[in-house]
Symmetry: C2
Subunit: 223 residues, 2 copies
DNA sequence: CGGAGTTTGTCACCAGAGTTACAATTGAGC
DNA sequence: GCTCAATTGTAACTCTGGTGACAAACTCCG
């Protein structure tokens, strides 16, 4: 299957495009462009003028966000099918999120001006953008709520459950990155992961985590 | 000034409606409705079918969000001019945020079906909704990033600075609510607040905080 | 003006996460 | 196959923040 076909399939399946015909998918493919990036490459610099929608077609990217004091905070990892919308045009201010490839990746990028061009023919594209941004808002709020409401162990369980549910049971990240995402030390995360492994909830590998029982993780998160 | 005029002014000034003419403001006022709520009232229940845009015209509301385990997490307080968009239609799932009035409040509510009706005449309304949701996404991401990256003292300083900058220097909430928002205990928050007061950054009152030096707070947050 | 309820300030104790350093294991490149 | 870098597991110690209980100060309402 060609990359273009793969991107079309991912777009067609995506929640935020449900209810629209195939014309929008076609428009995205026509006005967007496919980019190949090596591991470690920045898909987009923070503050970059170039904003719009980015769809991960293959590979995986880490999502970073700026915090006070010039800190860059890792807050998530996205695999194929995940889209990020950043409509700078209306929000004002610089780009929110920086993407860094953790493995060689293929992205579909639809810049702002392409969205504007699409909108002249199909104004309902903004409805899709609103839905996409709303999905991201939901995810960000969940992270924020968990960060302030749950103790570390429950928070880790909740995050593992979400990642396994949205990106498949095999999580390809090391414990250092996971600890950064949670705002914990590697040692603390490692300790809880070992506990989860002893309980049979997951299997630890070198640079990866195989989630085996999302239900139990969810119960821990809710306890 | 009538409530309608007050709402019109707030909408006209709002960032997410910049670039659009007065027609959208007019449409919101025509298709939305003004509601009066006493202190303690729920503006909208979580999971409520009734979604759309809510604008705080007068008073103040607390924003709550669901976390695993049936926990309700307070994550912010909104005064006049703050709008919340929740386009359930496309996001799927229940309403994200619950609003609770902390004082008698006046809200402008524009339900989903009203947005749909407006869109038949003015499809660009979705562009405004996308911009609004994007603003909320920015705020939620900032909260999440601060929660995982900053130690408690810096986090508190960052949050106070944001609240003072967006809602005026006089914050009307008690230390218990502030502690809940930060995911800290009241005692810890109280200790840092006293320290800030001794340094002259703010003045503590009964149920309120008067921020005096946002620059110094920002420097603490970045340290 | 006075009393009830709320909010704030203070104390001592303790669980739990961070830190540092190091050893053991795995994977990738040559 | 071997070397080196990255990743993971383990230890002792420190220290910040949570908990519970309580007193003082402030509002609000009658």
């Amino acid at each position: 299957m060609s990359l273009r076909e793969r991107a079309a399939e991912l777009l067609t399946r995506s929640v935020w495009l449900q209810g629209h015909g195939p014309e929008l998918v076609e428009a995205f493919l026509t006005h967007g462009r496919i980019v190949h990036l090596p591991a470690g490459a920045w898909a987009q610099s923070e503050g970059d003028e170039q904003t719009g929608i980015t769809l991960v077609v293959e590979g995986a990217v880490q999502m970073m966000c700026a915090a006070p004091g010039g800190r860059e905070v890792l807050f998530g990892q996205a695999g194929p099918g995940v889209a990020l919308g950043q409509t700078l045009r209306f929000g004002g201010g610089p780009r929110l999120v920086t993407l860094i490839c953790v493995e060689p990746s293929v992205l579909l990028v639809i810049p702002d001006h392409a969205l504007t061009r699409i909108a002249t023919q199909r104004p309902e594209v903004w409805q899709a953008v609103a839905a996409l941004v709303y999905l991201q808002l939901r995810g960000a709020l969940m992270i924020a709520a968990e960060a302030v409401a749950l103790p570390p162990r429950q928070r880790l369980a909740a995050r593992l459950e979400v990642m396994a549910r949205t990106g498949g049971p095999t999580l390809r990240l090391n414990q250092q990155a996971l600890a950064e995402m949670m705002g914990l030390s590697r040692k603390t995360v490692s300790g809880y992961l070992l506990g989860f492994q002893r309980a049979g909830l997951l299997t630890l590998g070198y640079g990866q985590i195989e989630v085996r029982d999302t239900g139990a993780l969810r119960r821990i998160a809710e306890s």
